[in-house]
Symmetry: D2
Subunit: 363 residues, 4 copies
C-alpha cells in the first residue's frame, strides 16, 4: 500500500511537500453529527507552528487550515473531510547550494535511491512540514475522543542529558513554557542547554511522553494490531523518532516479574477493580486496560546543523556540508503536538473498531 | 480490521489458541516458483519450541507443521499457502484453578472486558503459543528474502542487568548456547542469573536485537508506512514487548546532532557511497539506506511466576494468585526466532511493495 | 493485496486447491458471544455439495468442516475462527491426459501466464471446489445477520432459455427441487433441458437471484464501497459469473426516469415511509434503503464438456480436447448457496462497518 | 473502511460535495519519473464536463484541476499527488424548495438514515459531481498504462431502446458526436430520442461499453480480487449504474458450453496462441488473458425529472415533487469518461500488483 494513509475506520491520508503549493489531507470515517470548524483545528496547528519561541525555527509558516468538505452547517456529515493549507512564499533558493549533496542524517540519499529523483527543496515530502496535516487530522480525532471522555496530552521529559523531575509533573505547566515541559523546574535547565546548543550551531535530541486518559478497557485488535503495536507504528512513523516505549518500556528488559506485573485489588467504591501500578502503560495483551495509556518516543537531534560534516555529492565525490537557514535546535519540542495527534488518530481508529463489534446480545 | 493479519503484498493471517485443536496460518502473496517444503519451516519452529534447554518451559509441544496448499511439486504456486500445526494433548485442567482469577500482567482482564467472555485455558488466543505460526510464516519470508541476498538474524543482548560485550559479537555463537547470546563470555552470567531467577520462582526481562543484512537502499513507504514504523508495529506486536528501538534508539534522545547523523564518504571501490557510522540503524526518512537494519526490543519478564501476587476474581473480590505449571523464566530468549520472523515478514512485504513500482523507464 | 481475503471488519481468508490435502479458511471479526458449532455450517455446505441430484457432478466430496479455533464452550470468542475441510482421495490421474493442454474457457492458460507454473490437477486453486470455504464462512455471516433479523436466500430463475414465472415465486419450493427453483412449474422444464444438455455432452448457463430481507436503511460506504459495488465485487468474483445486476439491472438502461425511480408514500401504520416499487433493488446512492436487497448473477456454462474443442498445448501446437470425468452440466445450480454466502459476507461486513459509526449523540 | 478510496498499490482517495468550496483527491502509488502536468488531466475532465452539448446539463462547471503535490520539475516524484478543483459559484438556493423532501431515486433518504443529517445542496457527496475527481485520478492511471501500451476507451452503445450497429463500430467516431456513439448511424436516432425525452421533461437510461486493449495476460488476483470482480466493483460504484457485464455478460446465462468457451489456436506468426473468440471479455479465472478486456454498464435514467412524482417529506407526509434546474436527460452519456477512468484505475492497480511478484528466478 502506498504509505500516505493511516487508520482503518478513522483514516487520515495526507499529501504535500515543504515547498510545493499546498499541504492537504482527507479524514475519512469521522461519525456524522460532530460539531466541527477550523477553530477546532487551528490551536493544535499553532502549537506545532515554527517561531513560537527562540528555541524553534524562525521560519514563517502561517498554517491556516481550510475545511473543504465533510462539514455542513457546522457539523460533520459522515463523509470525507478535505483539509488544505496553502504554503506561503517558500525560499526555495536556499536549497540551490545543497541540491547536489546528500545531507547526512536526512532522507536525501534514500529518496533518490528509491524514486530515482527527488524534490530537493527542503526535503520535499520527507520534510517535517508534512506533520502539519497529521496535527490537523489529529485534532479531529481528539474531538471525537473527547466526546467519550478521552484526553490525549504530551510533554517533553528530557532534552539531551537534562530531564524533568516526575514528582513535579503539572500538565498545565506544559502550555506555559516553550518546551512543553511539565516541570517548571526543568525549564531553566532546558533553556540553558538549548542556548549552548544554538551557540555551537549544533542540535540535540529529546524524549517526549504522551498520555491518554479516559480510555476504557477493551480497545486493541490482537494479535497483530495490538494497541501498543499500532501506537508504535504511529509514533515511530514521526520524522526523527528512533525509539518507542509503552509503560516502563526499555526498563522492562531489566526487571524481574515479581516487580513488574501490575497487581490488582478490589475497588473500594465498587466499580472496576483497581490496578496497583501501571508498569504496563495501560495495555495488557495488546488491549487497553482502563488505566492511562503511556508512551514515550525518542527524537533524534536535527541533522541540519551549522557544523561541517563529511558527505558526498551526486557523483559520489567527497564534499563538506554545512546547513544554513532556519532550523530547530531541538525538533523534539515541536514533536509534542505531532505525537499527541498520532496517538489520537490511533485511538480514534481503535475506538471505532472496538465499537463495531460491541454490545451484541446473542440468544 | 480484525488484527489477525499482517502485511499487504506478502501477508500472514493466523488463527488458533494455546489449548484448541490446532494452530493455523495463511501466507498470501509469496511469488510463484520458489522451492518450499516443510523442511524449510521446521528449523525455525524448533528454535522457538519449548524445552530446548533447562532455561525455557518444559512443556511438550511437537510443533510439526504441515503445508496444506500453495505448493505443487515442490514449488510455490503463487496462491495462498495454508499451514497447520495440530496441538498435542494439552493439560487444560492445569487452568481450572485460575479460571476465575485475573492473572496480573496477563491479558485475562482485558480479553474479558473486550469480548465479554474468554478462553481461560492457558491464555487462549493471547498465549505466546500463537507465535509459532509467526515463525512458520516468517520462515517463508526468510526464504524469499534469501533469494535476493537478505539475511535476518537475532540475538539476546541482555537478560535483566546482565549484558553482552558487543566487541565479542559472534553470530555463530548464537546457535551454540541456550540463550541466543552472540557473546560466549556472557553465557555463564546469563546461566547464573537464570538459575537464581528460577530458584526464586521469579522471572526476568531481556533485550533482543535483530539485524537484517543485505537490504538494498529503497525499501519503505513514507510517510506513514516507513520501514522503521512497520518494524516497530511488527516487533511491538510480539507478546511481552514493551519497547522498540531502531539504530541507536533511545540514546538518540540524549545525543547531539554533530555526533549522531551518519556521515558519508566516497566508496574507494567505486560502488555506492559509504556511511561512516550506523546510528540510524539502516533507515533514513523511513527508507532503507543499504546499511544493516538494526532493531532492538525489550521483552518484559513473564507474568506467570510462583511468587504470590495480589489480584481479584471475576466478582471483584481480593485474592492471591500463584502460577504453577511449566513457564519460561525468561520469555525473551524464545522471542529471538519470533522477532526474526516478524522482521522477515515486514521486509518481505516491503520488498514486494518497492518492487511493484521500480524499474520504470518513462519517455 | 493478495486476493484470498474479502471483507474489512468481517473478513474471510481462504486457502486450498481441488486436489490438495485440505481446504481451509479464517473468519475474522465475528463478534464474541455468538453460539456457533459445526452444525451451523454443515447444512449450507451440504446444499453446495456435489452429487445431491443427477443434475450435478457425481464426484464424492464429503465436505466435513471442522472449527479449529475462535469458539469456546459453544460461543465465538471474538478471535479468529479457523476452518478446515480435509480433501478425500482425489482421482488426480484423471488429469494426466490434459496437463499439457489449455482447456478452453478455463483458467489454465491465464494461471500459467501469471504464475509461470500451474497445479493442473482439476484446476488447483481456480477450481470451484474453493467455494466450499466461501459457503462455510458465509454460514457464519448468516448467523450474525440472523441475530438482527436479516435473511439471505437465493434461487435459480433461469437455465438457458428456460425461465421461471415470477408470479409463482415460493421460497419454500427452492429447497424441494434439485434446481433451487422458486417456481414448481419450471422444474419439469429445467429437468427436460438438462437431460438434453447431458445427452449432448454439453453444458448450459443459468441466472441466479439472491435476496436479503430485513436489511435496515443505512448500510453501505460511499463513494467507492457502495453496497451495490461491494455486492458486484463479491458476486462477480464467483467462478463462472459474467454479469451482475442490482434491482432492475440491465433493464435500467432501457427505462425512462418517470417509470424507474421508486416513489414514496406515507406508511399507514406510522413507521418508515413506504416505497411504491423496488426497481432500485433496495439500494439508493450505494446505501441500503430498508427494502429487500435484490441481486442477480449470470453464470456461464461449464467449460468442461464432452464435445471436442480446438485448443493448443504448452508448445503452442493445435490440439483437440474433450473433458471426461464428472462435471456439472449447469454450474449455476450449485452457485446458489455460494451466491448466498457471498451476499451474507458482504452484508455482515457492512453491518459492522455501519455499526462502528452509529449511535453517537454529540453535544 | 471508509469508502472514499479505491485501489491498493495505485490508490485514489477523493473528497468534496457538489456545493462545497472544492473537490479534491489524492493519488498514491504512481511510480516516480512519469511526466505529468495538469494538461494530462484536463482533456478527460473536459469530456466529462457539463454543457458540452444540448444533451447534457447546462450547468456551468469550469473543472480546472490543479496539481498540488507529487510532481517536481514535470515528473512524478513517487509521493502522493494532491489534486484540487475549486467549485465555482453554486446556486444553492435552487435546492431550498426540496430540502425537506426525499427525491425518488436519489440518495436523500438513505443518506439521512445513515448519517442522521444530510447536505441537501444538490446531493452533497452523493452528487455525480464527485466523479470529476475519479476522472482526474483516472487520467493519471491512463498515462501510467499508456507507458506499457494499454489503452482504455468507452462508448455509449444504447440509449433507451435505441442501440448501435456493432458492425459500424469506429472508435474515432466516439469523439465526433455528443453521445460518445461509436456508430455514426445511431447518432440521429439517439438525438431524436433525447429530444423526445427532453420535451417530456423525462430522462432515459443508457448502456456504456468500456474496453482495454493491450493488457497482457496475467493481471488479476484470485480468488476474491479477480480482475472481473474488481472491475465490477469499480463500475457498479459509479452513480446510477445498476448492472455490469464482462464479455458476453448476461447472455452467458442463456448460452450452451459448446458455443461459449473461447477456443484457442496456434499463432501463425509464432507468438502467443490465439483465441478464436472473446466471449469471456478477456478474463479467464479472474486473470487477464491477453485479449481485449470488455465490460458494459447499465446506467439508469436520471431521477431528476420535471414530471411530478409522489414522495414524502421529512415528517413522513405525502408530497409531490418536481425537479427543476439543469439536469442531464441521460446521465449515461457523461458516464463514459467516468467508466473509462474507473477501468483505468483498476488496471493501473492490478498492473502494479502483478508487477510486484513477477520476474523472479529462483534457484
Amino acid at each position: 500500500m502506498p504509505g500516505d494513509s493511516i487508520g482503518h475506520l478513522f483514516r487520515l491520508t495526507t499529501f504535500g511537500e515543504s515547498h510545493g503549493p499546498a499541504l492537504g489531507a482527507v479524514v475519512e470515517g469521522c461519525p456524522a453529527g460532530m460539531p466541527l470548524s477550523e477553530a477546532d483545528l487551528q490551536p493544535d496547528l499553532d502549537r506545532r507552528r515554527p517561531g513560537q519561541s527562540r528555541y524553534t525555527t524562525q521560519r514563517r509558516e502561517e498554517d491556516r487550515v481550510r475545511i473543504l468538505s465533510g462539514v455542513f452547517e457546522g457539523r460533520t456529515t459522515g463523509t470525507a473531510i478535505g483539509l488544505l493549507i496553502e504554503n506561503g512564499d517558500p525560499r526555495s533558493k536556499d536549497y540551490a547550494a545543497i541540491q547536489d549533496l546528500f545531507r547526512p542524517g536526512h532522507a536525501d540519499y534514500t529518496y533518490l535511491k528509491k524514486y530515482g529523483l527527488r524534490d530537493y527543496r527542503g526535503g520535499g515530502r520527507s520534510s517535517a512540514r508534512e506533520t502539519a496535516m497529521r496535527v490537523a487530522g489529529g485534532a479531529i480525532a481528539r474531538k471525537l475522543l473527547a466526546s467519550v471522555g478521552v484526553r490525549v496530552r504530551g510533554a517533553v521529559i528530557a532534552i539531551g542529558e537534562e530531564g524533568i523531575d516526575r514528582a513535579a509533573w503539572d500538565w498545565d505547566e506544559t502550555e506555559r513554557n516553550p518546551f512543553f515541559s511539565p516541570d517548571a523546574g526543568a525549564v531553566p535547565r532546558f533553556a540553558a542547554l538549548l542556548e549552548e546548543v544554538m551557540r555551537a550551531g549544533d542540535s540535540v535530541g529529546a524524549l517526549v511522553e504522551v498520555a491518554a486518559e479516559g480510555v476504557p478497557a477493551g480497545w486493541g485488535e490482537p494479535v497483530f494490531d495490538r494497541l501498543d503495536a499500532a501506537l508504535a507504528h504511529a509514533l515511530m512513523g514521526i520524522n526523527a523518532v528512533k525509539g518507542v516505549e509503552i509503560g516502563d518500556g526499555l526498563a522492562a528488559a531489566r526487571a524481574w516479574g515479581s516487580q513488574f506485573a501490575d497487581e490488582m485489588a478490589p475497588n473500594p467504591t465498587g466499580g472496576e477493580p483497581l490496578f496497583l501500578a501501571n508498569h504496563a502503560g495501560g495495555i495488557l495483551g495488546g488491549i487497553s486496560s482502563g488505566q492511562t495509556i503511556l508512551a514515550r518516543l525518542a527524537v533524534k537531534p536535527t541533522s541540519s546543523i551549522r557544523i561541517p560534516r563529511r558527505t558526498v555529492n551526486l557523483q559520489g565525490e567527497a564534499r563538506e556540508i554545512v546547513t544554513h537557514g532556519r532550523h530547530d535546535p531541538c525538533v523534539g519540542i515541536r514533536a509534542v503536538p505531532v505525537a499527541e495527534a498520532m496517538m489520537a488518530l490511533v485511538l480514534g481508529d481503535f475506538f471505532l473498531q472496538h465499537r463495531a463489534r460491541q454490545g451484541f446480545a446473542f440468544d
